[in-house]
């Protein structure tokens, strides 16, 4: 039990999380290079093979399931590199992770963002 465990909808990227996601995040890191981005686009599945991802991690990459990627050890700064390739915005990804459309997410942000009230602790109302 960590002091941040009771914060809802938040995956703190600590050592435990980092160990779980190391291969996944290092795959994302490889997309910093243009040549790798092209290879990945050409054949995503082949590009992922041999990089040590678990089958679930590979599935989540192919599915662009950003919440699942977090749960499997991903860090948002790394996994967002996949979204960049797809020309998706951070609002799109934020919306997907929180079950909203990109438009709804943008509107929420324009109205001052997600309220902190009710979102500090699990079970808080």
């Amino acid at each position: 039990m960590k002091d941040y465990s009771d914060i809802p909808g938040t995956y703190v990227f600590d050592g435990e999380h980092s160990r779980k996601g190391y291969r996944l995040n290092m795959f994302c890191m490889s997309l910093n290079e243009e040549a790798n981005r092209e290879l990945f686009i050409q054949d995503e599945s082949a590009y992922l093979d041999g990089r040590g991802l678990t089958p679930a991690q590979k599935r989540a990459v192919l599915d662009r399931d950003y919440l699942e990627l977090l749960k499997l050890g991903g860090n948002i700064y790394y996994t967002f590199k996949i979204a960049m390739l797809d020309r998706k915005s951070m609002q799109y990804v934020g919306g997907q992770m929180s079950g909203m459309t990109e438009e709804a997410f943008k509107e929420m942000m324009a109205n001052g963002g997600r309220a902190i009230e009710g979102n500090r602790r699990v079970g808080e109302s």
């Binding site: 002091d3 941040y4 914060i7 809802p8 909808g9 938040t10 995956y11 703190v12 990227f13 600590d14 050592g15 999380h17 980092s18 190391y22 995040n25 290092m26 994302c28 890191m29 997309l31 910093n32 290079e33 243009e34 981005r37 919440l67 977090l70 860090n75 948002i76 700064y77 790394y78 967002f80 590199k81 960049m84 390739l85 915005s89 951070m90 609002q91 990804v93 934020g94 919306g95 992770m97 929180s98 079950g99 997410f105 929420m108 942000m109 324009a110 001052g112 963002g113 997600r114 309220a115 902190i116 979102n119 500090r120 602790r121």
Partner: protein, 279 residues
């Protein structure tokens, strides 16, 4: 003798840089934010520092999980804009100040800061967006830059107190550098935001305003804030604010707020800007 003449706290949201790079600053969405940057840019034009020490964090650009320095300092002649996944930003190359940077690196280490010294450092939006915010779009950046890169992505970042103490040490060491230079210190990142998870988009304006207030009046109090409070109150990425404490530490006991601007949203983030001068 080199001396620190001001501190700047500013968010470094990538979308702010992209808005400038793509000529969107007059759009309905961006105009209110950029309008607020005007007076700060005007102040900067008058201040004309020789060197900017920019406390920022890398976002999986120069550093990956292979290698995670808590505090890194760039001592190279130049720093290229990083390719963060969509090609490097089209901004000028960042020119370093190796003599002062090495003076800082050597003396920080002798003063028990466990710096990583870096000669090869691509700089990402964390460093270049604050330059764009303060200097707009010049052909060359009008001052030398010393990047001080803080890990805030792999938990745990250094504590707020450790960052503040780093700033204090930077001030002492700058003052011992034997060349007549004016130096500004940037603290970057924040303000409240969370990019990840079901809680993505969380913003806490009262927290941010309180932080901006206490940065002037009660920085020591702020250094006592534990990481969990940043994450809970300001979002998982709001923890970047510890870097503003390093800037504040470099300014000494009392400061005067020259300017402040605060706007929500910039992409998923509350954007803040504060300009402080030591008194």
């Amino acid at each position: 003798m080199a001396r620190i003449v001001a501190g700047i706290g500013t968010s470094h949201v990538p979308a702010i840089g992209a808005a400038m790079d793509n000529g969107l600053t007059d759009s309905d969405y961006w105009a209110p934010l950029f309008k607020g940057y005007g007076p700060a840019r005007e102040w900067m034009r008058k201040t004309q520092p020789d060197v900017a020490i920019i406390i920022y964090n890398d976002h999986a650009s120069a550093f990956s999980l292979e290698f995670i320095p808590t505090f890194a300092i760039g001592v190279a002649d130049t720093f290229q804009p990083a390719d963060e996944g969509y090609g490097p930003r089209d901004v000028p190359v960042v020119v370093g100040h190796p003599a002062l940077a090495w003076h800082l690196a050597e003396n920080l280490i002798l003063n028990e800061f466990d710096m990583t010294i870096v000669n090869n450092l691509a700089v990402d939006h964390g460093l270049t967006v604050p330059l764009s915010i303060m200097f707009d779009q010049p052909d060359v950046w009008p001052c030398r830059v010393i990047p001080v890169c803080v890990n805030v992505i792999q938990y745990p970042p250094p504590t707020g107190k450790r960052c503040y103490d780093l700033g204090r040490a930077i001030a002492r060491i700058v003052a011992s550098f034997d060349e007549d230079l004016t130096v500004v210190v940037f603290g970057t990142g924040g303000m409240s935001h969370q990019l990840q998870g079901e809680r993505a988009g969380v913003i806490n304006q009262p927290f941010d305003i309180d932080f901006l207030d206490r940065l002037v009046s009660d920085p020591i109090g702020l250094t006592e804030r534990p990481h969990v409070d940043y994450i809970r109150e300001a979002g998982s990425e709001g923890i970047e604010l510890v870097m503003w404490l390093a800037m504040r530490g470099a300014l000494g006991e009392s400061v005067r707020q020259v300017y402040r601007h605060y706007h929500v949203p910039a992409s998923n983030t509350a954007a803040g800007l504060t300009v402080l001068e030591p008194v």
